[in-house]
Amino acid sequence: MSEPMEPGRFNRELRKGLWKENPIFIAALGLCPAMAVTNSLTNALVMGAATAFVLIGSSLMVSALRRAIPRQVRISIYIIIIATFVTSVDYVLAALLPTAHKQLGAFIALIVVNCIILGRQEAFASKNAPALAVADAVGMSIGFTLALSMIGAVREILGNGSLLGAKLLGAWYEPWAIMILPPGGFLTLGALLMFFAWLRERAERRPGAEDERRAA
């Protein structure tokens, strides 16, 4: 596993999480936080940042220790590593951003069971060198945060008439309360998935797309 890294590999691992293997829109992982804490853009961003810290930290640790961790107990050890990062984030958020921490409530602690994080450890970090594992984690984190932010922005604008807490739409706008309630999360995610599926399909039908794919 110490063979020299092939050129472009780092960039590829970094970029795949943004779109090609986006954890929410393509892999449909981590949907619980994507529904639960995206009722405002602020919440989505804080959740994204907290998840990013946990994912990057855990991937680095798991990758660095991948030869020392016995195969039979690897999942337990991943969970211990992940839970340590999550609990630390929980305390630090409560100390530094008490308002956001109150809003996100139990969902910070629930990052432990976010399947994106354990998934990346098992599928990638445990088999690759630390540099690649971090690239993979950073890409996945950005992809996850972007997806959450899109859902959060749509829901906050429609459901509250505001963005990042600032009033965006005037008094004429009757907030669409269902959008900040749980059903709004499903509706928004469904609509976004449909939109992206349509984009993808259109890109595939484009002449020349077949050759590009083969080249890639």
């Binding site: 107990v73 050890i77 305390y91």
Partner: protein, 214 residues
């Protein structure tokens, strides 16, 4: 990844070391963030106390021990471990009233609030919800709805507070509920009734014995 079958000793040792390291790190983080977390909690409570007791310039914290308030002697900017009440004093040192934290079940989860109690007229002079998980867009209006909060600017607590439909408030002890959030509004009233019922005699005793004077 380690190859082959690792011995059970090695498995147990790996898990033990991982758990031990994790524990040490968490204790460190906990101790490191605890002062800031407690400060945030105390600040949130103190600023709410000033808001629910209009005209207050100085507050005094009381610790509740065996149901009786005792002056809290802890360091500045901290709250007692257990239950606490606050006495608010005005510019000239007169007693404005007491800020009393209370909680009870709402529609979804426990509602935690703090209200200002003016003991001479036995009325509530302010109320603020500290923590709630009511339905967003409906029940959570108990936190921010200005019309609902206006009910608590001068609310008689005797014989008891009565929730009425929005716009039907005629008596000083009635509260206009929020349309679409009747259960949450009524929960707030119930919490206030329970708490004032419990505290009215204690506050009366405190005043009679001069326990709350400067």
């Amino acid at each position: 990844m380690a190859d082959g079958e690792a011995s059970s000793v090695r498995l147990v040792a790996s898990l033990g070391v991982a758990g031990l390291l994790s524990g040490v790190i968490l204790v460190g983080v906990y101790l490191g963030t605890l002062p800031a977390i407690e400060r945030n909690r105390a600040e949130a409570m103190t600023s709410a106390v000033y808001r629910v007791l209009p005209g207050t310039t100085r507050i005094e914290t009381f610790e509740v021990r065996d149901g009786e308030p005792v002056r809290y002697e802890g360091p500045e900017g901290t709250l007692p471990k257990g239950e606490a009440v606050f006495a608010g004093y005005g510019e000239d040192g007169h007693l404005v009233g007491f800020a009393i934290p209370a909680e009870g079940s709402g529609f979804m989860d426990t509602i935690k609030l703090v209200y200002g109690y003016e003991p001479t007229d036995r009325k509530i002079v302010g109320m603020e919800v500290l923590d709630s998980r009511e339905t967003p867009g409906l029940g959570d209006k108990i936190v921010s709805d200005p019309e609902f909060h206006a009910n608590f600017d001068a609310l008689a607590t005797e014989p008891r507070i009565v929730p009425v439909k929005k716009g039907k408030k005629t008596a000083p002890n009635e509260v206009d509920c929020i349309t679409g959030a009747t259960i949450s509004s009524e929960a707030v009233v119930r919490i206030l009734n329970d708490s004032t019922g419990r505290w009215r005699p204690i506050v009366d005793r405190m005043l009679a014995s001069g326990g709350a004077s400067k």
